[in-house]
């Protein structure tokens, strides 16, 4: 054996710097870069080449660092995003362009995008959108919907960069007068852009520092997300942290017994502790809705889903890395599992939880009028049964963080959407007072609902309490997919009636939702669905019932829309069936039945202002006419490829359903003149750091650039609630507005200045211009409070709602946001493949505080809705990675035209409404309706995979053949008219 070929040292150049280190056999380059060379700008999303987040350049070529043995880098040049942004002019142009286009949201895929794009621009000047997609298609993004990224790269690569679309939209000077509606068009995909007024090397402009509501300033935290300095859950642990490995059930359901742990540990040096249910000092149970809290940190004797934790091994990183999990002493006894709702509700099925007979976790109901009578009276009733799949959130950042003890208190630094709720859920598990627990959210690499629940936090916390040492962990992709929450699969039976003249006459909805092994947000889904299943329409006679069913699947929880997207698929599909059979235009049918101001919702709630669905649908009319005509022309060729156009609406109540839902925002001015905003509304990429700051700055009357942000951190930011339910702009935004207004009153009162005065913060001084009068307040003369503020405000906003009665009648939300999407698809009849060609999204956001961020939310929601419609299906045990579980790639999301509708809301800050979840609700039904229009078949089960579309076409061919007395198969390629 020739030892000369063995390697134990590796030397290469990292971002121009020579590095030389010892390396073990086959260590991944990504791991060495991050853990041993400090290059935390390299992100790891899957360790399998499926996401591209870890892309680096090796001798100029983009590769996945997670797939390269570090030894292969020997003697070569390795470049990461931090090095490129520091040195490479193309990367610097890209950074500015990404900021201006809003091409980074959470930022965790951004290093992979920027590195890939830099390699492209080095090879090819002025790449077009297709070339960009080919070059960046290996990097997955879950937030942006990709189009802003494509635009940003095309823009950065163009020889004479055109002005960006990030400038504000025309004259917004009338934003404060309420009631005016502006239609604003996202022209990013059509090159029809508004001039930028002023720029610096960071792509800024004067309104960036102003940032008044209505201006598209780049996100305030853009730079860190673009230059690799943003720190996510796995980027912050101290060097001496212990590692941990969680032992999880390989079975959907199994009894288990732990063996002789002490003996197992005895000859494993470096293992510091082994944790199981017996080690929990407090209550081995948590849940986001206290009355339903049912999930153990560690299963006690039976694992109820594949991936449920039964133990955790804590130790020195090398020992944990070398751990052979198969050696861990646990004996499994697989038990019969129920994975489907039919199995779980069969008479012989055992109950997963005592007190939840028949595996029914809970029910929700809304009823008004007399649905049955109205359906009997209807001229036409359509009905259908619709099924949706488990959908995985698939954020590119798996759950990660670390815990440590500081002065006897426990700190958990992890990615989360809900720091205060994390603390509330953790304290009882740990038997600690909440005051003894501090939650410090790290950068969050996408959440979409799943990072509302505890995931990694209790393991980190228990391990730290047990060992007294910092402990870190990052879920692997499989671990993340197996163990965290999913979108509820729905099984919905729906009947809807209409009169001949196209007016709705009764609707009955029954939905079962697979809530998995534990409750999580299942009760919210059961409550939200009946409230929303009517869609934003006038329905006087309505009954909707929903229930959550326990199965041996991972817990279903919150996912952008809480069940509403599933219900919208059923309702909007049947609306098309009604319109079609009545011979009505499908958009006109919706307009005829659209909810209006003064018309009660199915909950009996009457809004006298702010109902924006009619405006959304109306805004779609020109595109609808043009696209329908284009599809008809396209289909005249009668080819295999058929084009279809679909439309669907959506609405979503912002904030908690009929429950208190306060946000508190604190702010202060330091003696040095710094204006500080305690921004506790966690930014998971959607932009709350920017929007909340814009609102606050405007209320105070200072440019947003003058505001310094602190938080989120449970020690320094008051509770701004969860980042969920599309509530941050609305609820926390209002709290920020109130704080800003309070601070402004205090400032003006100092010099008795008029309300119209202008405040100009300076170093140690506040200048107040009151008409011709000018005051200078020396801040050092004022006394500072405990936080060091000479002026401070802390205000709370809680949206006005009323409880729902047994029939769901009441006032569940203070405001709804509204949306309507138009989808154009091309379906290949022979292969069953669907390509979405275009999407037009009209959104009533009340007031677009930041239109660029509005577009970002819309694009991201559309991409997720597209994935739900066409490709996403989580199958426990079968699609536990990003290779078998498909989310849209850069080549799958079509150009998206965003039409911003502003039907100002009386409760929203400056009229603003929430948006996050609205963005995906209409997408899937619009696509399904477009498929029906294209090929005449109704897909009732999503995702509409090529196999499902073909199966539906086969049934259609069979039925048509039978109807015509012919053999099936003779029909291929000569089907009848389109639907």
């Amino acid at each position: 054996m020739d030892k000369r070929v063995g390697i134990d040292r590796v030397a290469f150049r990292l971002n121009g710097r020579a590095v030389d280190l010892r390396a073990g056999g086959g260590e991944r380059l990504s791991r060495v870069l991050r853990e041993r060379l400090g290059a935390r700008d390299v992100k790891v999303g899957c360790d399998a080449g499926d996401c591209g987040a870890c892309t680096v350049l090796v001798d100029g070529a983009p590769v996945c660092a997670c797939l390269m043995p570090v030894q292969q880098a020997a003697g070569r040049r390795v470049e990461t995003v931090a090095g490129l942004v520091a040195e490479d002019p193309s990367a610097q142009r890209l950074v500015a362009s990404f900021a201006d286009h809003g091409a980074a949201q959470c930022g965790v895929c951004t290093p992979g995008m920027l590195v890939s794009a830099t390699a492209l621009l080095r090879e090819e000047t002025a790449p077009d959108a297709d070339a960009v997609a080919d070059a960046l298609g290996g990097v997955l993004c879950r937030c942006t919907g990709y189009r802003k990224i494509i635009d940003a790269v095309v823009h950065a690569g163009s020889p004479e960069p055109t002005p960006t679309p990030a400038a504000d939209y025309g004259d917004c000077g009338d934003w404060g007068d309420g009631g005016n509606r502006h239609d604003r068009r996202d022209r990013g995909d059509r090159g029809d852009r508004v001039d930028r007024r002023e720029s610096d090397d960071w792509g800024g402009r004067h309104d960036r520092r102003d940032g008044r509501p209505g201006t598209s300033i780049p996100r305030l935290d853009a730079r860190a997300k673009l230059d690799g300095t943003e720190r996510f859950g796995d980027d912050v642990a101290p060097a001496d942290a212990l590692a941990l490995r969680i032992v999880r059930s390989p079975h959907h359901r199994a009894a288990f017994a732990l063996g002789d742990i002490a003996a197992w540990r005895a000859h494993r040096p470096g293992i510091v502790a082994v944790l199981s249910a017996a080690d929990i000092p407090g209550i081995n149970r948590f849940g986001v809705i206290p009355p339903f809290a049912d999930q153990p940190v560690f299963a006690e004797s039976e694992a109820r889903f594949r991936g449920e934790a039964v133990a955790a091994v804590v130790g020195e990183p090398a020992a944990i890395e070398a751990l052979d999990e198969a050696s861990f002493p646990v004996a499994w006894t697989p038990l019969p599992e129920t994975l489907t709702m039919d199995q779980a509700t069969a008479p012989e099925a055992a109950d997963l939880h005592p007190g939840r007979a028949g595996n029914v976790m809970c029910r929700g109901r809304v009823a008004c009028g007399d649905a049955d009578a109205a359906l009997r009276a209807a001229d036409l009733v359509v009905e259908g049964r619709f099924a949706t799949a488990f959908v995985e959130h698939a954020y590119i950042e798996p759950e990660a963080g670390f815990a440590r003890l500081v002065d006897g208190r426990l700190e958990v630094h992890a990615c989360t959407q809900a720091p205060v709720m994390d603390r509330e859920c953790l304290a009882p598990i740990l038997a600690l007072d909440e005051a003894a627990v501090r939650i410090v959210p790290t950068g969050v690499g996408g959440g979409f609902g799943s990072k509302l629940d505890l995931s990694i936090q209790p393991f980190l916390a228990l391990a730290t309490l047990k060992t007294g040492r910092p402990v870190r962990h990052a879920y692997g992709r499989q671990e993340s997919m197996q163990s965290t929450t999913k979108r509820h699969p729905g099984d919905m039976r729906v009947r809807i009636g209409a009169t001949r003249d196209g007016r709705l006459s009764g609707m009955a909805f029954e939905g079962r939702f697979n809530t998995g092994a534990y409750a999580s947000w299942g009760p919210t889904v059961a409550n939200r669905v009946p409230v929303h299943a009517s869609g934003p329409y006038r329905l006087a006679d309505y009954r909707a019932e929903a229930m959550g069913i326990h199965t041996h699947c991972p817990p279903s929880g919150a996912f952008r829309g809480f069940g509403v997207p599933q219900a919208a698929i059923a309702q909007e599909s049947l609306f098309d069936e009604l319109a079609e059979r009545l011979g009505h235009d499908r958009l006109a049918f919706r307009l005829r039945n659209a909810l209006d101001n003064g018309v009660p919702t199915v909950c009996g709630q009457v809004f006298d202002q702010g109902v924006g669905i009619r405006a959304c649908l109306t805004t779609l009319q020109p595109a609808w006419a043009a696209e329908c005509a284009a599809a008809t022309a396209f289909n005249r060729a009668r080819g295999t490829l058929r084009r279809g156009v679909g439309v669907a609406s959506g609405w979503y109540g912002c904030g908690n359903t009929s429950l208190p839902n306060p946000s508190t925002i604190k702010a202060g001015i330091r003696a040095d003149g710094t204006v500080v905003l305690h921004q506790g509304a966690v930014d998971i990429g959607q932009g709350s750091n920017t929007v909340i700051a814009q609102i606050f700055a405007h209320a105070l009357g200072v440019p947003v650039g003058a505001v310094a942000l602190l938080g989120a951190d449970t020690d320094i930011t008051p509770d701004a609630g969860k980042t969920s339910a599309s509530r941050q702009t609305f609820v926390s935004g209002n709290a920020a507005r109130l704080s800003g207004e309070s601070l402004r009153r205090q400032v003006l009162k100092l010099v008795n200045a008029a309300e119209t005065s202008v405040i100009e913060p300076g170093a140690g001084v506040l200048c107040i211009r009151d008409g011709a009068r000018r005051h200078a307040v020396e801040l050092a003369r004022l006394s500072a409070d405990g936080d060091g503020y000479v002026l401070a405000a802390c205000e709370t906003y809680d949206p006005p709602t009323r409880p729902l009665d047994a029939d769901g009648q009441g006032a569940p939300y203070a405001q709804f946001g509204y949306a309507a999407h138009l989808a154009v698809v091309e379906v290949d009849r022979a292969l069953g493949t669907t390509r979405v060609v275009k999407l037009v999204a009209a959104h009533d956001v009340g007031r677009a505080i930041n239109p660029l961020l509005v577009e970002g939310q819309v694009h991201g929601g559309v991409a997720q809705g597209l994935g739900m419609a066409l490709m996403e299906e989580y199958l426990p045990g079968r699609t536990e990675n990003l290779q078998d579980y498909l989310i849209p790639t850069m080549g799958d999301v079509p150009p998206i035209e965003t039409l911003i509708v502003e039907e100002a809301d009386a409760h929203g800050p400056y009229g603003a409404k929430g948006l996050g979840e609205h963005a995906l609700i209409p997408t899937a039904p619009a696509i399904l309706n477009a498929i029906k229009h294209a090929i005449g078949v109704r897909i009732t089960q999503v995702p509409a995979t090529p196999a499902r579309v073909r199966a539906a076409l086969r049934r259609q061919e069979h039925e048509q053949a039978q109807a015509q007395g012919r053999e099936p198969g003779q029909q291929r390629g000569q089907e009848g008219e389109d639907g």
Partner: protein, 291 residues
């Protein structure tokens, strides 16, 4: 705890290590690491990527090609190759992503022996052979004899693939590759078809090779179709169930067997017509107007 890492620069060094140790061969790492997952590697690794002469495409005097085992998909995609290799190059551009193509090797794709390996159908249509080296010497196996089943090859302990050899394609041969997946990038095929075709002066098919992947444990040539096609116009060639007899698709998370059967018939038809159109456009079908 980890094993040793060997990065030989000479083939005999690699074979020596493999002869004496229970070592795993890595090249691009794109199949090795996903399969490893979060487990720790205790075995030794032998990295073939630094062996002199193992990377690159060589055109030999007889018109045949020799593709070194460490040649990446990007190398293939960027190489100037004859039209018969256009299908192979299209497959190269469809493997995973640019990142994967820059690392992953053709030989690795064959040795991994996935039923959905993108490289196998085009290489089957090019009558590829695998050149294998061991301490006892070299041997060549036809590709269809090399891959024995899912994750199984004819490689013996201590052997490595050193090259893929492609005989000179038929004169005027062109090619096509069609891949069907549920998304645009980073996608494992539901079904794929590779075609190598040449047209006669009358525009009729003079020679046809068709291979289908992801529809059987190992990608298969469709011999009956190939035979029947000769002398026919591509436009009139209908794919029948009998033609697809070599295939045995299964139900998996990507599609069911019934769908694969149906889709692949369509896909084969399209790929043949696409190749015929290329041939006609290139004038390979001299004078024929209906290619």
């Amino acid at each position: 705890m980890t094993g040793e890492y060997f990065a030989p620069t000479r083939l005999d060094e690699a074979l020596d290590v493999l002869a004496t140790r229970d070592a795993v061969v890595v090249a691009g790492g794109t199949d090795y690491y996903p399969a490893l997952g979060t487990r720790a590697e205790r075995r030794d690794l032998v990295d073939l990527s630094r062996i002199a002469g193992l990377r690159g495409i060589e055109r030999l005097a007889d018109g045949s090609l020799r593709i070194g085992a460490a040649t990446t998909w990007s190398d293939v995609a960027r190489a100037a190759l004859p039209p018969a290799c256009a299908g192979l190059q299209a497959a190269a551009r469809g493997v995973g992503s640019v990142q994967i193509q820059n690392s992953a090797t053709l030989a690795g794709n064959l040795c991994n022996a996935s039923p959905a390996a993108d490289g196998v159908p085009p290489l089957l249509t090019l009558d590829a052979a695998v050149e294998i080296a061991g301490r006892s010497g070299r041997r060549h196996l036809a590709l269809q004899d090399f891959i024995l089943g899912p994750r199984r090859t004819a490689l013996r302990p201590g052997e490595v693939v050193v090259a893929i050899r492609l005989p000179a394609p038929p004169a005027g041969a062109v090619s096509a590759f069609h891949k069907l997946g549920a998304r645009r990038y980073l996608v494992i095929s539901i079904a794929m078809t590779a075609v190598v075709l040449s047209l006669g002066p009358d525009g009729r098919i003079a020679a046809l090779r068709v291979a289908v992947g992801a529809c059987s444990p190992v990608a298969r040539r469709l011999g009956a179709l190939e035979a029947e096609a000769v002398g026919r116009y591509a436009d009139t060639l209908a794919v029948t169930p009998a033609h697809l007899a070599p295939l045995s698709p299964i139900d998996d998370v990507r599609a069911d067997a019934a769908y694969r059967h149906e889709a692949v018939a369509e896909q084969v038809q399209r790929a043949v017509r696409a190749a015929a159109a290329v041939a006609a456009a290139a004038g390979a079908g001299a004078g024929a107007g209906d290619g």
